[in-house]
């Protein structure tokens, strides 16, 4: 037994050393701290460890300059994610086409949706210096859509697959010139489905006909997005703008308050709060076309909201935004209260204001 002691001592030392190192690692705020990447071959077997292996971008990675097969798109309204700006691309395999299926865009197998999340150093100069935080891929595999989150390194030369998610501090100057610091959370792979969920199948959110049936500036040309895809030979079934549904941008002040509010709720809430979404348990359904007062939350009591209800009785009290659970939860950053549950650690002030105005404009009950 005595002979074993030195081995034990070394083991213990080694272990505590390992522990020390692991502790230090745990303390790192930015998990994307650069270490040299290993070369990776594009085998066609997804997912790749490195974003660059897919070859979506030409030139310097951080410029996010798409190659020819990768097409820019932008939904009419954007989901709020802690004020992050996003650039989105779709890759459709050569020789294949997307199809229009009612309000869904039916993308062929092998298609990839590429969504980059970034912060300009100064929001007043959105085209200036920026930091890309993460790129989320949705790949339409044989068995359906699968999500893969990639976290960018500090040098902005590449991003690596991080299925367990990550956390990083982001600082920027906001539109009004104020310094802001955000604790940005990259969701883990399975959290993606907390939003991208239609009847428990992974599903895209922004790639719907009504979100794409509008004009986009491609740099060289301005064109309706569905028309542009059709001209590239990547889409069939487009019969002109007026033949398909279209949604407004909630930021468009020329539109009616109600339409803007509904567009906001649709893009920010309805992926969960619909009959096919995970929040169907609540009976609160916030789709663009919701007409039933109770399903919209008007004088509806909560079900499982817990502390999310605050001191309030109903989701929406017409005419009284400050008595409504909807605005209360949008206005909170406390986990367990805040809605949406994922993707934000700050309050979307402009969004809260829009919904407040909308609720306050409703006719109060007698």
């Amino acid at each position: 037994m005595k002979k074993m002691n030195w081995k034990l001592a070394i083991c213990t030392l080694g272990l505590s050393l390992a522990f020390l190192i692991s502790c230090q690692k745990a303390d790192q705020k930015s998990p994307s701290k650069s270490k040299p990447f290993e070369e990776e071959a594009a085998t066609g077997l997804f997912p790749y460890k490195r974003l660059s292996t897919y070859g979506f971008f030409t030139g310097e990675m951080k410029n996010l300059e798409p190659n020819q097969e990768v097409i820019l798109y932008k939904p009419a309204s954007s989901l709020f994610t802690d004020y992050a700006l996003k650039s989105r691309f779709v890759f459709i395999p050569a020789g294949q086409k997307a199809k229009i299926d009612g309000s869904d865009l039916d993308l062929p197998k092998g298609s990839v949706l590429i969504k980059n999340f970034y912060y300009p150093t100064d929001f007043r100069k959105p085209e200036g210096e920026r930091r890309i935080i993460e790129t989320r891929l949705l790949i339409n595999e044989e068995m359906g859509w699968v999500a893969y989150p990639y976290v960018w390194n500090e040098e902005q030369t590449d991003a690596v697959l991080k299925v367990v998610g990550a956390e990083t501090e982001v600082s920027f100057i906001d539109y009004s010139g104020k310094d802001q610091i955000i604790n940005y959370i990259v969701p883990n792979k399975n959290q993606c489905k907390s939003c991208h969920n239609k009847s428990e199948q992974m599903a895209p959110i922004g790639v719907k006909i009504q979100h794409l049936n509008n004009e986009l500036d491609y740099g060289t040309v301005k064109k309706n997005q569905l028309e542009y895809l059709s001209e590239l030979g990547k889409l069939e079934g487009f019969e002109g703008e007026s033949a398909h549904p279209a949604m407004i941008n909630y930021e468009d002040q020329t539109q009616s308050l109600e339409d803007r509010a509904m567009a906001y709720l649709d893009i920010n809430c309805s992926h969960c709060h619909s009959a096919e979404g995970p929040a169907s348990t609540s009976g609160l359904f916030l789709t663009y076309d919701q007409k039933e007062a109770m399903k919209l939350g008007i004088n509806k009591t909560p079900v499982a909201a817990g502390k999310g209800s605050g001191s309030f009785k109903f989701d929406i009290v017409p005419g009284q935004a400050d008595q409504s659970i909807l605005t209360h939860r949008m206005n909170s950053t406390e986990v367990g209260v805040a809605m949406p549950e994922l993707g934000r650690s700050t309050v979307h002030r402009e969004g809260v204001e829009l919904i407040r105005q909308w609720i306050n404009s409703m006719e109060p009950e007698k």
Partner: protein, 432 residues
Amino acid sequence: MRKLLRYFFAFLPIAGFFSCGTTTTEQTFDSTTLTRASQEEVEKVIEDFIMAEDSSTIEIPAGFFELNTQLILDNKSHIKIKGAGMDQTVLSFRNLKSGGEGVKIVGNNISVEDLSIEDAPGDGIKAQHTDGITFRRINVTWTNGDKSKNGTYAIYPVQCKNVVIDECIASHSKDAGIYVGQSENIVVKNSLAFGNVAGIEIENSDNAEVFGNTARDNSGGILVFNLPGLPKSDGKGTKIYDNDIIDNNHENFATPLGEGPNGNTVTMIPPGSGVVLLAAKEVEIYNNRILRNKTAGVSIASYQITGFPAEAPNWSPYTVGVFVHDNQYEKETLNMPDLTRELGQLVSVHNAYGPGLTQDIIYDGIWDKSISETIETNPMKICIQEKGIENLYFTRFYLMDGEENIESFKDYQLFQNCTVTVRTDSSGLVGL
């Protein structure tokens, strides 16, 4: 009545003193002595959930795992998630920064065994859209000294089929410890729920058996509710038997102390409630020990009593078809009924036996007038056959004529000569 009320409220300050709510932060074991898992070990658990393949076991070794992201099992079949024992493997979600629940499960034939879950900001463990979900020997709790920081549900299957909750412990939830919602084919057995606002709650669910459990020191012990406006619009068929439903006198901390109820129905539950039925359909309650619940042992109520809008498609606000028999009762003698919630005040002031007396069984007496002009015909089929009922305190209220005209009656005879056959079938759950 009004005179009585005035008389009663003169005594409120003293009464308030005697009916003070109790509170507890009791823990089943001390998790702080467990070895902390390293960052690598924690990440391995997260990856195991993400990478899980059908028909496999996710083993979580002994240790205290501090997670800052959710554990999600997504659409998998035949998975066993197994810890080293509820006092050995602890998943702590104290540092969770986003997401609604600590652990989330979707799939078929999933079991979760032998572990503990602590301090999730929302719900402890949630299973949704899962056919075949078993929770066995898991302990879900909150360790905050200040219970207002606790999460909503501890064990939370919702929109599931074939649910088994066996030998579990659920404590200190701000809503229900064990909550089964919008599900069918359910067994909750041999479990312990304490220190919650609601111990065990079956909501908008069909075919449930709740037996062999202990629900103690909650505000309400065992609840059967049907709430309006949900995708599963109404539920029926619950048996509650062989349970110990005792000392459920915990203060209702679903809202901060001093704040009244909000829109969550559970915030209205008066501390001191043993069994509460709200808009429930076909419920049998028998062979339970219903002891020392200071407000009422069994409360039978319709949804109208909440004062909330009581109309929704395919849903009825009435409690219909109840059979209460062969239970053992013991009244709380040291404490008076609750005064913090309207339902507690109703019992305190208006019961048929005298102000401040704990009741064994209360019935709100709200009935559907389209079925019968009077309640004499027992239109809602509320059947009560308790031995020695003449010595129990049974109050039927009359509440359908406004607050100024509340009446109460001791007429248990109206409800004594009938039975209700409640059919439940748990045979399909034997193998789970």
